[in-house]
């Protein structure tokens, strides 16, 4: 239909063609308008303005002074903590990202294999941590450094450790603890979207598959389920990228801030440090800009890889 109309107006200039198409779909723009209005005002404008602030020196009192690339020079050449933060962010993202992505897909799929009522129960159980979210106080109790700490008391009783371990202040353990809590919380949005996606799959497809000779559930997963879940798999991937690269809150709430030897310091905590504690807004914006670029690259690479496998 689209193609036919185009040839009808072939002698029109591109501009007039565009105008006509826009007029024809006017009601569609009206439908999308309220969302985009709010989006531009509260997300678009703030993001677009904070990008150039990264090239200034801005203390939130005086008007920003343009300093060119100096914030970025400082970041990469003089700020040792930032280099630690980059390293931690990458380690953290490389471990938690793929693992929780695979985990949230596997769990969503396994739950779908269960009969009706169990599906609901398990979905609830696995999403509950994301809902409970910031029960950091409880995790602090579990990892607490004294003998009242739950983990310590278990390990002491079993005789696995000699004395109480300082899980949250010993630089050797901090990142591990943060990763565990992140994994616990990370199923979240991706998991729920995949569950919803699995529920939308046409059941008659399974029957057709059985007739075509799909023997067991793994074949069914690979030949039928995964290909029909493209959009949800992409959604889950994007969610995992953002949550693993922007992690920082967990480390900040769980351990002291800043953590011992900056062991739980990520790019996000670094930005928080400059943006909300030291009020060096220009520098904080520069940090966020770098993080955004890193995520953009990772996102594009993963999308390319995924579109090779799925047709999204």
């Amino acid at each position: 239909m689209f193609g036919k109309e185009k040839s009808q107006y072939i002698e029109d200039s591109k501009f007039r063609y565009t105008m006509r198409e826009m007029k024809k779909n006017g009601s569609a723009y009206v439908l999308a308008l309220p969302f985009f209005l709010l989006f531009v005002v509260f997300t678009g404008i703030p993001v677009l303005i904070s990008l150039p602030i990264g090239f200034t020196n801005f203390n939130m009192v005086q008007f920003p002074q343009w300093t060119g690339l100096s914030n970025f020079y400082t970041l990469f050449l003089a700020d040792d903590v930032f280099l630690i933060a980059i390293q931690n962010t990458l380690v953290f993202a490389i471990i938690t990202g793929p693992v929780s992505y695979i985990l949230c897909f596997l769990l969503a799929w396994l739950i779908n294999e269960m009969p009706g009522p169990l599906k609901t129960v398990f979905t609830y159980v696995f999403y509950a941590p994301t809902l409970a979210g910031n029960i950091f106080a409880t995790w602090q109790l579990i990892f607490s450094g004294d003998t009242y700490g739950f983990l310590n008391s278990v390990l002491l009783n079993l005789g696995l450790v000699k004395g109480a371990q300082q899980w949250l202040t010993d630089a050797r353990y901090i990142l591990m603890c943060v990763i565990i809590v992140q994994m616990w919380m990370a199923l979240g949005a991706g998991f729920l979207a995949l569950r919803a996606g699995l529920q939308g799959i046409d059941k008659s497809g399974y029957e057709a598959g059985a007739i075509e000779g799909i023997k067991n559930r793994f074949q069914e997963l690979i030949y039928f389920t995964v290909p029909s879940m493209g959009p949800q798999l992409l959604f889950a991937a994007v969610m995992q990228i953002t949550s693993s690269f922007t992690a920082g809150d967990i480390g900040r709430s769980l351990t002291a801030f800043p953590s011992t030897d900056y062991a739980a310091h990520t790019i996000m905590t670094h930005a928080f440090d400059y943006g909300s504690i030291r009020y060096e807004m220009g520098y904080a914006c520069a940090i966020c800009f770098v993080l955004f670029l890193v995520m953009l690259v990772v996102n594009n690479v993963i999308r390319k890889a995924m579109s090779g496998i799925l047709d999204t």
């Binding site: 439908l31 509950a128 809902l131 995790w139 729920l192």
Partner: protein, 286 residues
């Protein structure tokens, strides 16, 4: 034919089902443990809170922690019910409006081909990656210009149009067969009608999921930079204050944790059972 019938209820082999079941139980226990532990801590009397080794059960359950919490809450300048009202108002408004606006926009982005739509899609996809902790200063300026500081608008409007909600709906709507929409168009349905009467009933799991995300997000809104009148503040801020006030009382802070996590959990329970029920017998075909 018998195999197919069996396939519908239980997947694959019986042994595989049991293995999966045990695996899920095992992972499930790890997931539930911290939540259970929070709950147990909140009903422990003081003597039991500081026992070594920490116990996983309560000998004399008490509601004292919750009573203490309410006592502190009752001593505030503004009645506690006002905070509850604020939080419920904010959560309901944000959830409903977000559902309406994201769904409409997602329909346009997924199913309408017109100039500019591709660009809008690109913008949303990029915006997904920009989770920034530094935009609050510009957000404050924008709200000040609009005269929204210290109003309910500051607590609701900024949280409605999220790239994530739109992206979620768009991904699901993209799966609706084109033929379905063409048929509705031939019947003379407007975009609005197609979106709400043709597309939306077919993506019910998606919008129930969006409602969960939206409510969960809205329930955590504190608005602490944008609102300073005590009458406008939502529950999470008060809970933070209460938890911070009783330093020696780990029990009270555990009680606030439980109170805060209950409403989203209850809503999720209601919506989730709905998802499973409705989708058991639906199917889309191209």
């Amino acid at each position: 034919m018998r195999i197919i019938k069996k396939r519908k209820k239980w997947g694959g082999s019986r042994g595989g089902d049991i293995a999966i079941f045990l695996l899920l139980i095992f992972v499930g226990l790890f997931m539930l443990f911290p939540i259970y532990f929070s709950f147990v801590q909140s009903i422990k009397p003081v003597e039991e809170l500081f026992v070594f080794p920490p116990k996983l059960y309560v000998q004399n359950p008490t509601s004292l922690n919750f009573e203490d919490m309410l006592k502190v809450a009752g001593a505030l300048d503004v009645p506690f019910s006002r905070y509850v009202f604020n939080s419920v108002l904010i959560s309901v408004v944000v959830t409903v409006v977000q559902l309406l606006l994201s769904s409409s926009a997602a329909y346009v982005l997924a199913k309408v081909r017109a100039p500019g739509i591709r660009a809008m899609n690109k913008i949303i996809e990029i915006a997904l990656l920009f989770t920034s902790s530094v935009t609050y200063i510009v957000q404050y300026i924008v709200m000040a210009v609009l005269g929204m500081i210290d109003t309910y608008f500051a607590l609701t409007l900024p949280y409605i149009a999220t790239a994530m909600g739109l992206f979620l709906m768009r991904q699901f709507m993209g799966q609706i067969p084109e033929s379905m929409i063409e048929a509705a168009k031939l019947d003379g349905a407007s975009h609005m009608r197609i979106c709400w009467q043709v597309v939306m009933p077919n993506v019910k799991p998606a919008w129930l999921t969006l409602m969960i995300f939206a409510f969960q997000g809205a329930w955590q809104i504190t608005g602490y930079l944008f609102v300073y009148s005590e009458q406008l503040k939502p529950i999470p801020i008060v809970m933070q204050q209460i938890a911070a006030s009783g330093i020696a009382r780990t029990g009270v802070s555990s009680a606030t944790v439980v109170v805060l996590m209950l409403p989203p959990m209850i809503l999720f329970l209601i919506l989730q059972s709905n998802v499973v029920e409705t989708m058991a017998h639906s199917g889309l075909k191209d």
